[in-house]
């Protein structure tokens, strides 16, 4: 049985980082803004559990606070994508074949044609690098993804007989969409949500690596990697640890997504891309 194993492993991995992020809100082993240059570049295990960075900050604390930044940015970006994409997808499906459907889907194709990263870099560069602009830049490209998945799944549900029954009962398109379509495609949206979540974490890491994400002193995994680049050879833990944190979080989310997909509805497997 592959599904439960990947779900359990994935949820455990994701859970560890989510917990670290939550705990960092109230407690970290050391203050992440406290600089101690005398204690700089300590390898893991010597005093500090995971060592210290080039400014003497505790790596374990930095990683915990970095988890908070990554997860918050990716989560809100998924929220934007779902909040705007799902209603648009439902609307397009309700007006299937009509002008609204056509215009919405063409607009979708258009956003897909944009190299997302270039535009994200453009947005953050013009409007100033910050976590909020990173969220917006990532979130905008989540909208067409959710719109497309929602529309595709909703179209299948619209042809079901219980929808016909609901129409006979006099329910309008909006009420049917909310009361009958949405609950039936929620599985799929949760699965897509975990996928976009993991992509969001990678995108946030990339943006903050080039200096366009969260700004100092807010710790973020991507910027930790950028700052570690010059110390990589002498103090490998500076670059290895944040990288591993990104890989494990994304891996956990992807495994969770795969597991959820298999568990929730095997029939829908092919609808998810």
């Amino acid at each position: 049985m592959r599904a439960p194993v990947s779900l359990v492993l994935g949820a455990a991995l994701t859970g560890v980082f989510a917990l670290a992020a939550l705990v960092s809100l109230v407690w970290t082993p050391a203050d992440v803004t406290a600089l101690a240059v005398g204690e700089r570049l300590k390898p893991p295990g010597t005093g500090a559990l995971l060592g210290t960075d080039q400014l003497g900050r505790d790596m374990a604390s930095m990683l915990m606070a970095g988890a908070r930044t990554s997860i918050a940015v990716a989560l809100v970006a998924v929220g934007i994508g779902m909040g705007a994409g799902v209603p648009l997808g439902l609307w397009a499906a309700a007006r299937r074949g009509g002008l609204v459907d056509e215009v919405l889907m063409r607009a979708n194709d258009l956003i897909f044609a944009f190299p997302a990263l270039v535009i994200a870099i453009l947005i953050t560069a013009v409007f100033g690098p910050s976590a909020v602009n990173a969220i917006l830049a990532i979130g905008i490209f989540n909208i067409p993804v959710f719109a497309r998945v929602t529309r595709g799944a909703a179209l299948t549900v619209w042809s079901a007989e219980f929808i016909l029954a609901a129409r006979c009962a006099g329910k309008g398109a909006t009420r049917i969409s909310v009361e009958h379509i949405l609950p039936n495609i929620a599985n799929l949206l949760v699965v897509q949500g975990t996928i976009q979540f993991s992509l969001g974490i990678l995108a946030e890491a990339g943006l903050s690596y080039v200096g366009l994400g969260a700004q100092p002193p807010t710790p973020s995994w991507g910027r930790m990697l950028a700052e570690a680049q010059t110390f990589f050879y002498s103090s490998p833990h500076l670059a290895v640890l944040p990288g591993l944190a990104i890989v494990l979080t994304v891996l956990g989310l992807n495994m969770m997504g795969d597991g959820l997909r298999d568990l929730l509805d095997p029939r829908l497997q092919r609808a998810v891309r």
Binding site: A113, F114, P115, V118, A205, V210, G222, G243, L248, N254
Partner: protein, 337 residues
């Protein structure tokens, strides 16, 4: 139909004509959507760049600029006209190969782009080649051994490949293959004048870093597309007539699985161009991505605006060409418009 009577001939001619008309209609629709995409893309890029809060000239010169310097730059950039007038001038210029003059380099942007393309295009092609060469055999092997330990291993490897940020992978590659074992260069580009070998040596690590996540995605698509076609009736027929599993895959399943694989390859080209922004920065490669980034840090808006448009144009064009290629390969897809 084939009895040669005049009626049948007429019918066949009419059918051929209808096919031609359908093809022409498909082409016209695709062209229209290509033109529309480009138009909207240019408006969006123009709006984002020119929509800089405040005055673009003041933005470019920074906070401490003297008012007359700003005014001089305004007239140099042609910022005096209205938004619509400037937009038309920009688009018209780009259509004739005039991308504007870089503010920081003081040379035409078109010249800068030509230099940088000599790095970016070979890099993207190299990465695409590596990714395809790695992913297609891996995906086919996994599909042929589906459910077994080899399949499981390949799936695990692709999961990892998707989760690894390529710039971090690039850093690891530099430490391993440029510092610990100095086989390849850690960064920079000697230029093609230094010879093909030196150029490839500089591009190998960036290409590997770019290719890895793409190969992981491609291998998964190849595997699932192949498994899907292996369930088809014609594969059962192929096996029934005595073909081995390997021959059935090679001769029949592989070709039919290629359509989803081509889709992903088309999409990946866009990623290889855009994703190179970060990788080019890791390796200090003088490519298009780095040009955009340098333009952003130097507040050279003309460079950023024109190079971004060029990248988007390339991506939209490739998507369009891939669409046409499908229609040529698989007539069923033409109906979707």
């Amino acid at each position: 139909m084939h009895d040669g009577s005049p009626d049948a001939k007429g019918l066949a001619r009419a059918a051929a004509f209808a096919r031609l008309a359908a093809m022409a209609r498909y082409l016209a629709l695709r062209f229209l959507s290509l033109a529309l995409s480009l138009a909207v893309a240019s408006v969006v890029i123009f709006a984002v760049i020119q929509g800089v809060p405040g005055d673009p000239a003041a933005f470019m010169l920074g906070l401490n600029a003297a008012p007359d310097t700003v005014a001089a730059l305004r007239s140099e950039l042609g910022l005096e006209g209205g938004l619509a007038q400037r937009y038309i001038a920009w688009v018209g210029g780009m259509a004739t190969g005039d991308f504007g003059i870089s503010y920081t380099y003081r040379v035409p942007v078109a010249d800068l782009v030509a230099d940088r393309l000599a790095v970016s295009l070979p890099l993207a092609a190299y990465a695409l080649l590596l990714s395809t060469a790695l992913a297609l055999p891996a995906g086919m092997l996994a599909a042929a051994r589906r459910g077994g330990p080899v399949d499981w291993g390949i799936i695990a490897a692709t999961q990892l490949g998707i989760a690894v940020p390529n710039f971090w992978f690039a850093m690891l590659l530099v430490v391993l293959f440029a510092i610990t074992w100095p086989v390849f260069s850690a960064g920079g580009f000697p230029g093609w004048e230094a010879g093909l070998f030196a150029g490839l040596k500089a591009l190998t690590l960036p290409a590997v870093a770019l290719a890895l996540p793409q190969a992981a995605i491609l291998a998964r698509v190849m595997r699932s597309a192949l498994i899907e076609t292996l369930h088809a009736d014609y594969i059962r027929t192929a096996r029934a007539k005595g073909l081995s599993e390997a021959a059935a895959i090679r001769r029949h399943a592989f070709r039919n699985a290629l359509i989803p694989v081509l889709t992903i390859l088309g999409l990946q080209f866009s990623f290889l161009l855009a994703g190179a922004i970060i990788i080019e920065n890791v390796f200090f490669l003088p490519g298009l991505g780095r040009l955009i980034f340098q333009g952003i840090t130097a507040r050279d808006l003309i460079v950023v605006q024109s190079v971004t448009m060029l990248l988007v144009f390339a991506v939209i064009l490739v998507t369009f060409l891939v669409d046409l290629a499908y229609a040529a390969v698989d007539p069923r897809l033409r109906k979707r418009g």
